[in-house]
Structure formats: C-alpha cells, structure tokens
C-alpha cells in the first residue's frame, strides 16, 4: 500500500488540538451569542485555499465525520486537508452542515438544509469570506443577544443581502446561520437576528 497523503494535507492543523479547538469555540460562542461582535481567532492554523484562516479554524474546531461540508469552489488540496484533520467529507449542498459560499444570496435558501419545524437545528451554517468587517455597508442588528440595537459594517456583499436576510428571518425557527469571516476574524448572524440596511 502506498502512502499518498500530500504534505499540504498534513501541515497547518492545530498545534494543540484540545486547547486550540476550545479557544476557537469560545470565540465562536461569543460571536453567535452576541451577533455582530467581531472576534479574532488569532493565527492558529494554515488552511489551503479557498478556506480563509478563520474558516479553516472553525472547521477544525467543530467539523467531523458527521458533518458534510459543501464548498462552492472547492479544491483537491482543501478536501484532503479537511479529511486529514477533521474526517469531514465534501458533500452536496442538500446535505451540508457547513457551507462555504462566495456570497449569501436567496439561491442558498433553496439549496442548503434549512431544518424543519420539528427539527430546526438540522440546518446549515454558512461561511462567507468578505473583504472587510470594518468598512463598507452598514447594517443595523436587533434580536436575541443584542442589547437594544447594534451596527455592523461589511464590505463585498451583493445588493440583495438585506433581501436574503429578510427571507431567511421569515423562516424562523428554520433558516441558515451566517458566519462572515475576514482573515482570522469573524462575526456571526444567527437566523434569529433581524438585519436592516442603514
């Protein structure tokens, strides 16, 4: 039997899996329980394209053999890396628990699992890399996890983002949970958050 695992698949994982995973999860929990809060995961992994560092770290922390991952423009190197470190396989949109897409649009409400009224948790978490979490379009947030209202700024979104969010929120308790990443930073918009364009 020949050993064919490439070096790129083996490199770049967590140096200390138990503690790095806990650190990433703790920040992710902060992000999703306080929507709009930007958290920095730090430099904890090197993930192959098209995954950004934050996306790679998130998958290393909570993806495994039970969670098919859909990647819009995947690569062989990334699939190998993910399989080696987490055991997760690349799957179809309809079965994805994590989806890495280029932009959030209504198309994904038809292709990704939204959960059912009986089991709304059986829905995908969507990861989108944006140009910036500090400048660009302003959006106002309200809902659980937010004291009154808060504001986020995102760059690199299509015009139909507000419309997508409206359609997504209308599905509550079903719907997609969004995580915007930029380098090693991320912010989360769970389905419960009401997003309006400023």
């Amino acid at each position: 039997m020949s050993f064919t695992q490439s070096q790129t698949a083996i490199d770049g994982g967590f140096l200390d899996p138990a503690f790095d995973a806990q650190g990433v999860f703790a920040r992710l929990l902060t992000a999703i329980s306080r929507p709009g809060t930007v958290v920095d995961l730090g430099v904890c992994c090197r993930s192959p394209a098209p995954l950004s560092m934050a996306q790679g770290a998130l998958l290393l922390a909570i993806a495994d053999g039970d969670t098919p991952v859909f990647v819009e423009e995947g690569s062989e190197a990334m699939a190998e890396w993910l399989a080696f470190h987490t055991g997760a396989r690349i799957g179809e949109p309809s079965e994805a628990q994590f989806a890495i897409v280029s932009r959030p649009s209504r198309e994904w409400l038809e292709r990704l699992p939204l959960g059912t009224l009986a089991y709304p948790d059986r829905s995908a978490t969507v990861l989108v890399e944006v140009e910036s979490l500090k400048d660009g379009h302003s959006f106002t947030l309200e809902g659980p996890g937010i004291n009154g209202t808060s504001r986020i700024v995102l760059a690199g979104l299509l015009d139909d983002f507000a419309e997508f969010r409206k359609a997504n929120h209308a599905l509550f308790p079903c719907g997609l949970d969004l995580v915007f990443t930029c380098g090693s930073e991320l912010l989360a918009l769970p389905r419960s958050t009401i997003v309006t364009e400023v």
Binding site: A21, Q22, I32, D64, D121, P144, G148, P173, R191
Partner: protein, 281 residues
C-alpha cells in the same frame, strides 16, 4: 516518559464528543428556547446529579476560566463540591465561590442573587427539559406542539391552578416564553428567579443529560413568564428578612435548627449572604 500519565483528556470528555456538544450549543443559541437533541454521554456520576450541566460545562470551559458551582444557591453542598472538585481535577481550572469572579457558573436550581454580567456563562442542570411533558407524555406530540407553537395546553394547566386554588400554584420550573416563540422549562428554579432570566447580560445554557437535550438563552433575550391579564405573574414574597444577613429582597431557605421547632430563614445564595455579612462586619 513522564511518570504521571495523563488519565483524562482536558475537561474529561474526548474531543469528538466536545465537537458534537459544541455544535449542539451553537444551534441552541441560534434558536433560543428550542431543545437541541444531543448524544449525551455517560459521566462518572449518576443521572440526576447534573450530567447534562457537566457535559455543557466541559465543552465550554477553557484553561483561563474560573468556575463556580452552586446547588440550590449553595456552594458547599455535596453536588456543588463534587462537581467543582471534578473540574479542578480534570480541567485544572481555577474555582471560586464568588459570583462576581466566576466566568462559568454551573447551577442546580437557582440563579445567583448578585446580578450576572456580560461575558459570564450560566450553565443549568436540567432534569426534565420538556415543559409540556407532564401534560403530554409523547415526545412525538410535544415536538409537533413546539413546531406549531401550540401552547394552549399549558395555559389550560395554569388556568386549572387558578380554578382550584384561586391563584397560579406553580412555584418552581415555572414555564417561560423565549423571545415570543418557544415555551421553555427554566429548570426547577423557584419562580422567584424567573425575572432574572429576562434581558440577562450573561449567556444561559441548559443541559439535560438523561433526556439528551441542550437549549440556550442568548444575552439580552426577552423572557416572559406565562400568565393571564387578570392573574399576572408574581414571584414569592417573604414576610421576614434573612436571619443571618438581614436581606429582604432574596430567596430564603427554611433551616431546622433544633428538635423543638426552631426555624431559621436564611439566604439560599450562600455567597450573597456571606458577602453581605462581611461588608456589615
């Protein structure tokens, strides 16, 4: 090789289990009040002793966290002491009895009197997570009732209380509605604590080990205790102050002091009571 072999993974649970629980926690936070099923593990303690809370705490806690564990408000009962010792040993985390110092507080049946703050996590141990279970024993049915937001039965139950007793007689595990959607069991906390859940700045996580459910309330979430316009929700009132610290706006325990009918009413939250006495001294 090191003479002391590591006997456990950090925080006892294996990494695979933590990933599964962490995913359940994230979905629970995204759908406030909805009970997310999870593959609960056997823990080195019997069901009913907080296996759900322990699994949630083990999945959340990190080396920099400071853990407090309370049982009915008290830091020094068997359940609280054992769980605190358990995490001090398997996760090597700092432990405290002071509410203000803790970053993670695991609780059985109380919310601390000291207001919680941003960044803290309150982990509840939950025996029966389904608020409708005693009204409808079938899981398939209660799941549909939650899906369709069909909570009439719960109001009938509260109404029957009024019809029989003249007031709503439910005093603990008093059902709440989370952000206007899911009816949720707040675990068997006294209804005295229900108002503390509303708009709470801390993250509240609930773990039911035997029943295999995790649910959550994000910070600053609207929590309403179910009631009627003509019978509004009211908390317990006590006709005397705490016998030790003199506090009047707290939940009191009745403590038998002798075999001649002696009674002491004292704060159920031992940390709060001690703090007040230290400040007065």
């Amino acid at each position: 090789m090191n003479a002391t072999l590591p006997a456990y993974n950090f925080a006892y649970l294996d990494e695979q289990t933590k990933r599964m629980i962490r995913r359940a926690i994230l979905k629970a936070v995204a759908i406030p009040g909805y009970q997310v099923p999870f593959a609960s593990r056997e823990m080195p303690m019997p069901y009913g002793w907080g296996t759900g809370g322990v699994q949630v705490t083990a999945s959340v806690i990190g080396p920099d966290d400071i853990l407090k564990v309370i049982d009915q408000g008290s830091d020094d009962t068997t359940n609280a002491v054992s769980i605190r010792a358990f995490f001090a040993r398997v996760a090597n985390v700092a432990v405290t009895t002071k509410t203000v110092e803790a970053t993670v507080i695991q609780t059985r049946h109380r919310i601390p009197e000291t207001p919680l703050s941003e960044g803290q996590i309150l982990v509840y141990q939950v025996p029966i997570p389904e608020p409708l279970r005693f009204l409808e024993p079938r899981e398939t049915e209660t799941r549909i009732m939650h899906a369709l937001e069909e909570y009439g039965l719960m109001h009938v139950k509260l109404y029957e209380d009024i019809a029989q007793n003249g007031h709503i007689a439910t005093t603990y595990a008093y059902p709440v509605k989370v952000e206007g959607r899911y009816v949720m069991d707040p675990s068997p906390i006294p209804k005295f604590d229900n108002p503390k859940m509303d708009d709470c700045p801390a993250l509240q996580l609930f773990g039911a080990g035997r029943e295999q459910r995790i649910y959550a309330i994000p910070p600053h979430t609207r929590i309403e205790s179910l009631d009627f316009e003509d019978h509004p929700f009211r908390v317990q009132e006590f006709d005397r102050p705490c016998g030790l610290c003199g506090a009047t706006d707290v939940y009191l325990d009745e403590i038998v002091t002798d075999d001649r009918g002696g009674r002491l009413f004292a704060c159920s939250d031992t940390d709060y009571c001690e703090e007040r006495r230290e400040r007065a001294a």
